[in-house]
Subunit: 138 residues, 4 copies
Amino acid sequence: MGEIDGFVHRIRVRYADCDMQGVVFNANYFAYIDDAMDMWLQHALGQEYLDGFDYAVKKAGMEWASPARMREVVELRPTVTRWGRTSFDVRIGLSVGDRVVGEGELVLVSITPGGYEPSPVPERVRRALGEASSLMSR
Amino acid sequence: MGEIDGFVHRIRVRYADCDMQGVVFNANYFAYIDDAMDMWLQHALGQEYLDGFDYAVKKAGMEWASPARMREVVELRPTVTRWGRTSFDVRIGLSVGDRVVGEGELVLVSITPGGYEPSPVPERVRRALGEASSLMSR
Amino acid sequence: MGEIDGFVHRIRVRYADCDMQGVVFNANYFAYIDDAMDMWLQHALGQEYLDGFDYAVKKAGMEWASPARMREVVELRPTVTRWGRTSFDVRIGLSVGDRVVGEGELVLVSITPGGYEPSPVPERVRRALGEASSLMSR
Amino acid sequence: MGEIDGFVHRIRVRYADCDMQGVVFNANYFAYIDDAMDMWLQHALGQEYLDGFDYAVKKAGMEWASPARMREVVELRPTVTRWGRTSFDVRIGLSVGDRVVGEGELVLVSITPGGYEPSPVPERVRRALGEASSLMSR
């Protein structure tokens, strides 16, 4: 049995991220997910990944299992769950240690840089993220 | 044909809400939706609506049709789309003038104030939001 | 006894603005001040005030007298306190009803739009904000 | 010549931190500074530093020398510049590599936990931060 491996992005919860209930404010999880996507794309494609490629968020969703709190380190694990011609879906698992925090889902549309026209997902993106994802689900 | 009426919450887009692409950053729509929920509950139940009632967000999602930009006024129109025993779903339409910006969805769980135990949705909440919602869908 | 008059920008405190201590998080006051500046410039110069003029924040400061809390309406009253050739200072009073929340201070630099070169404050800006300010201090 | 040493907190600039001008939004620097303070106090006093001690921000200010941009790593270096009986001042240098981004200043008031009464700065806080600061200014 091989090791389960894959890209993990870690975010330490700051005081400013938490709300009056003492937990991360719901909208801030989407900012965490946004940052995880950027770091994942950099990791898989290099820092200049936006050269000739850009994407827009068509849908975003999250379901919570437990709240994250100040100083906890949230681990975000993205994987591609669907490839379309001009769009793809990403699922992001969020956890703190062994505790599941929740699961996010994004529908991303490949667009021409500087515009909002959908365009085919570049092969290099598909390959780089696809390989990263297959590592996750081994 | 009757008039379509119902609760509308308006949020003017601030400079700080927008990102490097010049549009409202995706996570900020969830903060807008959160604010619309608070204002709607106040409107329907009075400012002290949290007296004996609280809720947690179990799921949140949003699908975009177009971006909102600085100084535009986003109109948010919430309606209840499902009543469960301890939870309920809310759909929120977002628009700028005649232009659809997108649609949000929340699954909210009624909880005991100060804790995280699910508890039956109080009848007064059900009635107040239900009536507000039926006005919307006439 | 003249009337004390002048521009007032009002911001209702949202749930998301507050931190674990139940008060507006300190950094968020600077976002409030930023929004007040934008609204004041629009009020004094028209919505297209950035046509041929832009500014950068060189310094920002705030001293607190009392915290603002959820649902309170913070009133922000900006006035110019110094005119330089390429920069000017603005003082912003913050209050909730009769209660003083604090006072903010900005040093703003007039820059060429699209660049970061300091440039003389346009006469129309000087006149429009100066008049607005003199109304305040009568 | 001794080594210049001291506490440094590093924050990578996220996409969400930047505004329409492509630089970190001014209010967000105060959130960075807030996080640096928390990390510094943890570093100097241990994670439970709020046990019997709390503080409120009385004044906050920042002067900018250059903007920070997406993906840059901002280094924050706090030092105590004044000790009062119930308050103390902290100066925070911000830089990206060799480039100075600016300097922040805080006036912090020691308060009784759970209240807003000023109370003497505990000796252990004074000692821990003072030593950390003296290392900086050698």
